[in-house]
């Protein structure tokens, strides 16, 4: 049965808080003010669970189908290695390595590149974003440059980076950093632009100077948006990593996959894809945690 047509239970968000008690158990934030701005009904626990079980079943079915196809030997392992072979590769690359480095070394090098790029693009992107968000001049200068940069695929500017900056580590980091720059700067700008004017007015009427408004209102207000930008940027960076490692790399997950593909070692290719997907998942999860800790108010505003 479709989820849309069933009446759904929804969390008890709108009891009226007795006036002169402090927060009671029934007292849920905020929702009582505007009765019609209710949170959308959420799926009940049982519904969430059944979806999860179906997901587990799906994954099992997919793996089983894969294993079966591989076991039947209809296609050669070059085309479709068995799940067991991929798992074995995971172990062997972890312990013995592939193309002269272990999995952990490849992973470490790749992560180092992405994080170096992240730091570089934060250092450049956040001030640029704040300039765009806060001043007409900043917007006039940086907006067209960013809008030009944003849609260009990394592989298109990579040849230029190679000619200009060589094939060393800086070029790889730069390619990734450029891909990260636009999301970070544009999110920072959106965050600054989206600062609630009333909050700024409030701060000023409470005696804050302009500098204090920037430090105590604008920056904290923009933080959730900056973190969102960071999340998008990490995704973009991780995607660009494999491209960057086309540049004369000797280590890295992207390099590992490409080398494996050139030698038709399909099980390492598939294993690498799983590792890349896994790391992306972990990064995304980590940033969500960071967001929850750093800006617990985001989305409840």
């Amino acid at each position: 049965m479709s989820a849309l047509f069933r009446p759904m239970a929804r969390p008890d968000l709108e009891r009226l808080a007795p006036f002169d008690t402090e927060l009671s158990d029934h007292d849920r934030p905020d929702a009582l003010s505007v009765p019609w701005s209710r949170p959308a009904p959420e799926p009940t626990r049982s519904k969430r669970w059944s979806a999860r079980w179906i997901s587990v079943a799906t994954i099992i079915v997919v793996l089983a189908a894969w294993a079966l196809t591989a076991a039947l030997g209809i296609v050669s392992p070059v085309f479709l290695p068995s799940p067991a072979a991929v798992a074995a590769r995971f172990v062997s690359v972890t312990t013995e390595g592939f193309v002269d480095s272990t999995l952990l070394e490849h992973l470490g090098v790749s992560l180092a590149r992405v994080f170096a790029a992240l730091i570089a693009s934060l250092i450049v992107g956040v001030p640029v974003g704040i300039a765009i968000g806060m001043s007409t001049v900043g917007r006039g200068i940086f907006d067209p440059l960013l809008e030009f940069l944003r849609p260009i695929p990394p592989l298109a500017y990579m040849p230029l980076i190679i000619i200009w900056f060589g094939i060393g580590e800086p070029s790889k980091v730069l390619v990734i950093a450029i891909a990260m720059l636009a999301p970070i700067a544009l999110s920072a700008a959106a965050g600054v632009k989206g600062v609630n004017r009333e909050r700024i007015n409030a701060a000023r009427s409470l005696g804050a100077t302009r500098r204090q408004v920037l430090a105590h209102v604008v920056l904290p207000s923009a933080l959730p948006s900056i973190l969102t930008g960071l999340r998008i940027a990490l995704g973009a960076g991780w995607t660009t990593l494999v491209a960057a490692e086309l540049i004369a790399a000797t280590q890295g997950l992207g390099f590992m996959i490409q080398s494996a593909a050139q030698f038709l070692v399909t099980d390492v290719v598939i294993m690498g894809i799983f590792v890349i997907a896994g790391v992306a998942f972990v990064l995304e999860f980590a940033i969500r945690r960071i967001e929850a800790v750093l800006v617990p108010w985001a989305g409840r505003d």
């Binding site: 200009w164 060589g166 094939i167 004369a248 593909a261 050139q262 030698f263 038709l264």
Partner: protein, 310 residues
């Protein structure tokens, strides 16, 4: 002082792999060397252009293309004329038995490389319009993979990919033949001019070690047999099968250090060869302009000095 040197090499089977494997260059030059492996000359040229490497191994075609773009490079050592070591192979069952059959087929070459050049030259010699052939830009390892899958009908390539695809294909023509048709190709070592100016002794030293290896091979070529340790070293660095190495070494015509300085090579003919290559590339629309003089991209100075120090 501690000199750092970056050298770009390719997986071509030739004698200098032996001193490279033995670490003789480091010893002779007193330098730390970062050896970078490249799949084709175009990548080497890009790396040299950006200053990322100091000395690089390229074929005559990328060399001509780079010189025509006036990159600050110098040719310091001619590895040798390419003979049977680069060849056009047609897949069994593709129906290709001669060059004219290539029309409408998929033929893979690494762009800008000597085999790209040789393919174009061969097509021209046989009167086949290159536009009728689907010429795909693949690097040698990608050619091997695409071949395995049956995606391409033919490829003009060198070892180790050549060795792999030859087992299920027929050689249609090789570079020795194309050279006879008036389009010879060769491989060479090039150096960044600014690096050479600052470190002339290092360059001479490099040439000398290289030349010694060639001399060693030329002295008794048969000593580098399948079971020799030289063959094993070469196989390890290039990925070629060890039993193929002796034959592959015969795929080149290696000049001796003494010949290098003569007018047959760096002393004269190399400049003409680069000029001729450039002219052909221009004719094929691959480069824009041919320089009036390629003299400054070729230098016999280092081979002369190296030969003199013997």
């Amino acid at each position: 002082e501690d000199l750092k040197l970056t050298i770009g090499y390719q997986t071509v089977v030739e004698p200098s792999k032996v001193p490279q494997a033995d670490g003789l260059y480091e010893k002779a030059l007193g330098a730390t060397i970062d050896w970078r492996k490249f799949d084709s000359g175009a990548d080497v040229v890009a790396a040299i252009a950006s200053g990322a490497i100091d000395i690089g191994y390229v074929g005559s075609s990328p060399l001509a293309a780079a010189a025509s773009r006036e990159l600050p490079i110098e040719t310091i050592f001619v590895v040798g004329l390419i003979g049977e070591s680069e060849a056009l192979v047609a897949r069994n069952g593709s129906g290709i038995i001669k060059i004219a059959d290539l029309a409408g087929k998929k033929v893979a070459v690494p762009f800008v490389s000597t085999t790209h050049y040789s393919l174009l030259a061969a097509l021209k010699h046989e009167g086949v319009d290159p536009k009728t052939v689907e010429i795909l830009n693949l690097r040698p390892p990608e050619i091997a993979a695409a071949w395995e899958r049956g995606d391409i009908d033919a490829a003009y390539v060198w070892d180790p990919a050549l060795g792999q695809i030859r087992t299920s294909g027929e050689i249609i023509v090789d570079s020795a033949k194309v050279a006879e048709w008036g389009a010879p190709t060769f491989d060479a070592w090039i150096v960044r001019t600014d690096f050479a100016e600052q470190n002339p002794a290092t360059v001479t030293g490099f040439v000398k070690v290289t030349g010694d290896a060639y001399a060693d091979f030329l002295k008794v070529p048969d000593a580098w047999s399948t079971s020799s340790e030289q063959a094993a070293k070469i196989a390890k660095l290039t990925g070629a099968k060890v039993e193929d190495v002796p034959l592959l070494l015969k795929g080149y015509v290696f000049p001796s250090l003494a010949d290098q300085a003569s007018d047959k090579f760096l002393g004269g003919a190399t400049v003409q060869a680069v000029t001729a290559t450039s002219e052909f590339l221009k004719e094929q629309g691959k480069i824009d302009a041919v320089l009036p003089d390629y003299g400054k991209y070729v230098s016999a100075k280092y081979v002369s000095e190296a030969a003199a120090s013997n």
